[in-house]
Symmetry: C2
Subunit: 449 residues, 2 copies
């Protein structure tokens, strides 16, 4: 497939656009999207203009918001309105979040009144909430209706609604009473009352955190979840495919921050080199500033280093192992937080586990290090003294690193930050500095310096 897409890219480069148009016609729509995501801004604009109108709308709907925004920028006003109108209200709001407020307002004005008011409902919730991601186009069924009545409404409203497979059931005040699946309506008798078929609704408040709601939707395998207001009236519905988008975005963010960079929020090959560089440079600088601590620590112990230069040989090994132990713990805990397996209230449970894990790991590595350095290490006649220093440092460092690594993501979340921000690269820097202090203190004590 990639090979084929590369051949298409060659057609752009050689400006053989007529051939490109024919080739695009033969691709599955998902492959056209994959192709556009591999191109730079200009090539993408050129290619997009070659698509037949219907295909263009479908393709536009499937692109990342960042790429939609770039395409919009390259189009004339009339065309813009057309694509903007083609989006669902929730997707429209997400695209608007990418654009300058003035442009977004202008585009909103061009919408027909119904679409505009639907869009405004979603716009009414703060970004980051599930209200901002839900669809306001749902089909609610009164609880006293029969299956026949319900099916009638589903058939009528079927084409516009976000989903008709999970239907909120409401009372006369439009308060949410439960949900009924289309499957249950279809496999039951026409005269059955909906109330008898509905199940307890797993709903979510419109002000609820979007990622958390998406995780719940995915964990509990709902095709859709009703979204309610403070009075428990249904205001929207939130489907599993939107949950997938939110989770994928959240996981890309976690992954990037774990690696010590800001997320790109767009496909790698479509991102200019300078944008990639910018996503990394601030983190690198912050971490490098943090790492100057290690220079200061070593500076303090410079006399110890001068007396026993052999101690310097083990510095990368020791801080590397400490960093690895810390990363392991931080990664496990960050992931458990993201999956909802633990919450910030579990801080002491986590600490107690990580202390034990760190101590066990440290004992294994420390014993091994002691024997190996004792047998083959440097030490000018007394290798076992340096071996003891290495062994003891590994035990303390692993315990320290695992505990700190387990605590940092929880601390980060408590402070309202993304847990991943406080995780891996910071752990390494922290463990580097504190670990070195431990190392030289133990060395001074054991070697009597």
């Amino acid at each position: 497939m990639t090979e084929q897409l590369d051949e298409l890219a060659d057609l752009i480069r050689d400006e053989r656009l007529r051939e490109l148009r024919v080739a695009l016609d033969e691709l599955h729509i998902g492959d056209v999207v994959d192709f556009l995501e591999r191109l730079g801004v200009k090539d993408r604009a050129v290619t997009f203009r070659l698509l037949p109108k219907d295909t263009a709308v479908e393709v536009f709907d499937m692109l990342d918001q960042a790429l939609q925004h770039e395409i919009i920028e390259g189009l004339k006003d009339g065309e813009v309105a057309h694509f903007f109108e083609s989006l669902e209200p929730d997707d429209r709001v997400r695209l608007m979040d990418e654009m300058p407020a003035s442009v977004a307002r202008k585009m909103l004005r061009h919408l027909d009144p119904r679409e505009r008011s639907l869009t405004n409902i979603v716009l009414g919730y703060p970004s980051g909430t599930i209200g901002r991601q839900m669809s306001p186009e749902f089909v609610a069924i009164p609880e006293h209706w029969t299956v026949r009545q319900a099916m009638e409404k589903v058939r009528r409203a079927g084409t516009d609604a976000e989903t008709i497979y999970t239907l909120p059931v409401v009372d006369r005040q439009r308060l949410l009473k439960g949900v009924v699946s289309l499957r249950d309506l279809l496999t039951n008798d026409d005269e059955q009352i909906v109330e008898a078929l509905m199940t307890e609704a797993d709903s979510v408040d419109a002000d609820h955190d979007a990622e958390d709601a998406a995780r719940r939707c995915a964990d509990r395998k709902h095709l859709a979840m009703p979204v309610t207001d403070k009075e428990h009236r249904v205001v929207g519905i939130f489907t599993v495919d939107d949950a997938l988008d939110i989770l994928e975005r959240a996981e890309s963010e976690d992954a990037a921050r774990h690696g010590g960079a800001e997320p790109l929020h767009r496909p790698y090959l479509s991102t200019p080199v300078l944008t990639i560089m910018r996503s990394r440079v601030v983190w690198l600088l912050v971490l490098a500033v943090g790492a100057t601590l290690t220079v200061q620590v070593l500076d303090i112990f410079e006399s110890t280093l001068e007396q026993v230069v052999a101690l310097a040989l083990f510095v990368p090994l020791l801080i590397g192992t400490g960093g690895n132990t810390g990363n392991q713990a931080a990664t496990t805990v960050t992931r458990a937080l993201a999956l909802g397996d633990i919450t910030t209230r579990d801080v002491f449970k986590v600490l107690w586990r990580e202390v034990r894990v760190g101590l066990t790991l440290g004992s294994v590595l420390g014993a091994l290090g002691f024997v190996l350095v004792g047998l083959w290490g440097p030490g000018d006649g007394n290798p076992w003294a340096i071996a003891a220093v290495i062994g003891l440092t590994l035990v303390s460092m692993c315990t320290l690193a695992a505990s700190a690594g387990g605590m940092m993501p929880i601390l980060g979340k408590k402070l309202g930050a993304d847990p991943a921000v406080f995780a891996n690269p910071f752990i390494s820097t922290f463990v580097d500095a504190t670990g070195l202090i431990v190392y030289f203190m133990i060395a001074r004590a054991v070697l009597g310096l």
Copy 2:
């Protein structure tokens, strides 16, 4: 919520089981699952036995396979058969993968013939393929049928089928011709021919890699995808909630390996400390062995170190920065591979991008390092010489680290391994060793040692 769950745990500890039973009755089923996932093996077995029979079956279906297996182990044979029978064929196969083959075979023998033959279909595909994860219970519609006939079949088969919302359309040879959504059937005329309503099917071969299929299902927002055999006959269906499970598992694996540990495949709090320790110790040892390279490199340059001890002060800072740069690149590329934004064929595109990014980052950091060390650094009268060493090392190290970091995951994938295995911790170890060589070579050249 966590608070409430902790109170329930107190009830177990105090053996107030009658109160626990009442409290469990009042929880939403999803919360019962969350609660069980926070308990140790014994407490979970105790609690599970308190659940009413219907709830127990539902709860059992929602647990991780590893926890299902532990519960099964604690039950009597008759009970086992009951729970085993309650699972869908695809979930049953996943649970069987957790159990010793002899136990699995025994349980298979207790199933009724229909369930057993369905399970055997799924068992027929190698693990890791989508055939192993699909459901063999689908509703296929012949293309020449009317909407009325199709709806009749959906109503009849509706309760057993995995999904009725996406329906494969087949010809007389049962070859896949397209898919039709239940929504389209419902919103069209009863006498319409299905062929006129169906859309192109995005199907997947049963032997296809499960994670790749799941990613496609999620990316293209399908509620379900038909699974076909070599002759393009429909053999099963694969729904978005199974895709979610596969992706969550894959992402947990990636996250764990990024952090240099093996995935737990079970909730953190329910995992014994020794199991956590085992998931980490092998990686730590392998990485520590790799890190002994740094000891050897430093040993070779020990005379240089003895002449200018100040060089030792910058070792953690330099290798830390190199490691961070490498991690950033590795993380971005691993994620792009996972999302399908790039493939292994893009290796030179990635290399060329990362060389440029690394060089830019290195220049910024190098210039900064040169000035700062020159102004305030050590150096016994000639700080600018050491400053030059640091600056030049940062430029080369960042370029090297970004390129190696970008290449490793692709190399890993080409070799058929999980890209994440070859990523971050290995990068750090590699960059530590090579970076030190670069550092001391530059130092010798610049300082004329």
